[in-house]
Amino acid sequence: MDITLQDIRKTFGRVIACDRVTLAVPGGTIQGLLGENGAGKSTLMKILSGFLRPDSGEIRLDGTPVIFRHPADAVRTGVGMLHQDPLDYPTLTVLENFMSGRPERFFPSRSAATRRLRELAGTFGFAIDPRACLDTLTVGERQQLEILRLLSLDVRVLILDEPTTGISAAQKAQLFETLRRLAVEGRTVLFVSHKLEEVESLCHRVAVLRSGALAGAQVPPYTTAELVALMFGRPIVFPQREPAAPGRPVLELRALSAMDDRLRLAPLDFDLRAGEVVGLAGLTGSGQRLLLRTCAGLVRPVAGTVRVNGRDLTGQVYPSCRRHGVVFVPTARLEEGLIGDMNLSEHLLLVQPPRRLFIDRPRALEAAEERIRDFAIRGSPDSLMRELSGGNQQRALLSLLAPPLALILIEEPTRGLDLESAAAVWTRLRAHCRAGAAILFLSSDLDEIRAHSDRIVVFFCGRSSPPLDPSRTDREELGRLIGGKGWDREAAG
């Protein structure tokens, strides 16, 4: 199906999300859509899929103008979208998720739907148990299910918004294979990403959005430098990794084990030294998150000890860990990290130990001004956190980390950030390392892990690998470990 987007414009209040974007995609192609965060990619695709209505402009499918009042309209016409945060029902089963939204009878036939799901899954080599509860699936599997659901509704245009966030290397390979196959069948695929190499390896053509407008387009062979220039309109400086001088041990884990309702962490011995950065890799839910939260005192270990700077913190709750220089920075910034309805100066007052009874407003404002300057936050001391962009929220969050710190535990430090913000975040984290802090972070972005870790620990089903040297471990080997291959050899060796 040929798609034409003609002069699409969409504003939210005073913000122009899409500014007269025109884009034509012939049937049977994989069209890449590149751009940094906030460039308007998602908005444009939500308009194409009927989720949002444009202020002006026209959508034509095979030359015929269409107006979608509702995403279901778009699906009926053959346009389906896979959203960045999976839009499905975690508490229902796989089968129920599959059936929902399909034109079933009043009393749907479970057996017929199961057959249809199995058949489709078989064609693409996806292993999905229809009876499983959705919240036991990985993000990658949920994505596969959603693709199958859309295909069962016979969509001829498939839109994927940042589909590779949070999925494993193996799942990514499988996803790309599937997309290529769909294109060969004559379907049109729109692939939204801010990762250059993915777009370069997969897409037949690429369009780049910047600040809501179309900045340019390319066909293979791609030139990375040109794409970067199109995306940012400016060069980016990446922080260089300096090998850590081995300092004294900051974090010592001995036979540490913890568990949540799904997973039990195998006993772990591990030392982290001052100035060192260690990345934790693995599929979502393999234990790396559990380990971070256990070290932070958010989860109580079931066995073993945690020592920080020689002090036994086993079983201590987070506030007391914090008093001993341990901070935890969560990934969900507005859910767990910041208070959306409060401003930066109030946040600064919150993180200080409450020595005074009354608030010293002038001083709080002054401190906030200082952080805004130092961390290049776009905002003022009294702008509310939820009004800041993702990158600025992350900078604000980092500006709240007051030295001296012993240990920084951080989840997905740059998730959802554009390259410039990501670079700024790592520059800041490095500065803490130089001041003697150690960093333990987890990321689903393998390149981030490889670029910033002094050592890497891979998790699989609660087991952890010995620390690996990133310079001597290539991407493929990491991918194999993450996918659960080669663990018996590790255990034997």
Binding site: F12, T91, M99
Partner: protein, 333 residues
């Protein structure tokens, strides 16, 4: 009378007195499954009891009484839905204020019919089935609304778990955006289910004033507090019709037990025995929630594998988590 007869008539009475609670709690569950919490139950129940009774007295028709009650319940729910969905006000706040206001409104408007003689629903035995031993007198010598409450349990279960709209309903309170991309008109469905649930709550009122606690006696009608119990039952029942019914019957049974045991416990004032089931509800709520608490999972982790599995399974069975998007407004953009 001998003991078995007392027990049987007692249990039959328990099924009847629990009827309105079952209906109201299932009504609330339907509304909450759609993502709207209607906290006005206590007021709605009392007002619809009064209105239903007044309508029945005025027209002489019981059906008119029940219809009037349902209409009152639907109207109250519509207010909650309008404030919560369209005006984006706190559903809890509006519901709470309505719970107090509608109660006082019932006392105010009900003054003229206070103590009036009114019609009452008759027992309607089911031919043949009523002769069954044990089950007959318990289940099949009830009034028509009690039968309706039995049917409602089954119907609600089938609707929620076995039909296409029921699947959408379950998604609506869980992840409205997902229901939206699957073709559901979130706003309209939420209105619809809230009003339908409210109508059920409104039916429960006349079930009291025209049957279980026939008549309207103003502030001493003995209805104050039951709406809050129905709300607690919704949670205790994990938004699941069968479990809600079980909870309602348990509550009615305990109240009955209090009445039966009173002669044997002269030291305890009757007022105390009457409220005794309420703390019990709280205890069950604690039990239901305990499976989610962090310290339980920590305690569980200390147990040997086999026992842990079984206990965790039991807790999961008891556990009930509310619809994830309960009380939140859905915004397309």
């Amino acid at each position: 009378m001998d003991w078995p007869t007392i027990l049987l008539t007692g249990l039959a009475g328990v099924l009847a007195t629990a009827g309105p609670l079952v209906v109201a709690a299932i009504g609330e569950a339907i509304s909450e499954r759609a993502g709207v919490v209607n906290l006005s139950l206590n007021g709605t129940l009392i007002l619809s009891a009064m209105a239903g009774f007044a309508a029945a007295v005025a027209t002489g028709s019981l059906a008119a009484g029940f219809l009037c009650g349902a209409a009152v319940g639907a109207a109250a729910a519509l207010l909650v839905a309008f404030a919560g969905i369209t005006l984006r006000q706190s559903q809890v706040a509006v519901g709470f204020v309505l719970a107090l206001t509608l109660r006082d409104l019932a006392y105010f408007l009900g003054a003229p019919v206070m103590g009036a003689a009114g019609p009452r629903l008759d027992i309607l035995p089911v031919p043949l089935l009523e002769r069954l031993p044990v089950v007959g007198p318990m289940l099949f010598r009830q009034d028509v609304m009690t039968y309706a409450s039995f049917l409602l349990i089954a119907a609600a279960w089938v609707w929620i778990y076995r039909t296409r709209p029921g699947l959408t309903l379950r998604g609506l309170g869980e992840q409205p955006a997902a229901a939206f991309v699957r073709g559901a008109d979130v706003i309209r469905l939420r209105y619809l289910y809230t009003v339908a649930g409210g109508a059920l709550v409104g039916l429960a009122g006349p079930m009291y004033s025209l049957s279980v606690k026939a008549g309207w006696k103003g502030t001493i009608s003995g209805l104050d507090g039951l709406g809050w119990i129905a709300l607690a039952l919704t949670i205790f029942g994990g938004w699941h019709p069968l479990r809600i019914a079980a909870g309602a019957y348990l509550f009615a049974f305990l109240q009955w037990l209090g009445v039966v045991l009173q002669p044997f416990l002269p030291g305890i004032p009757s007022q105390v025995l009457q409220v005794a089931p309420f703390p019990f509800m709280i205890l069950t709520l604690v039990l239901v929630n305990v499976g989610q608490a962090e310290w339980t999972s920590r305690l569980l982790a200390l147990l040997p594998e086999g026992g842990r599995r079984r206990l965790a399974g039991l807790l999961r069975l008891l556990r009930a988590s509310p619809p994830a998007a309960l009380g939140q407004t859905f915004k397309r953009e």
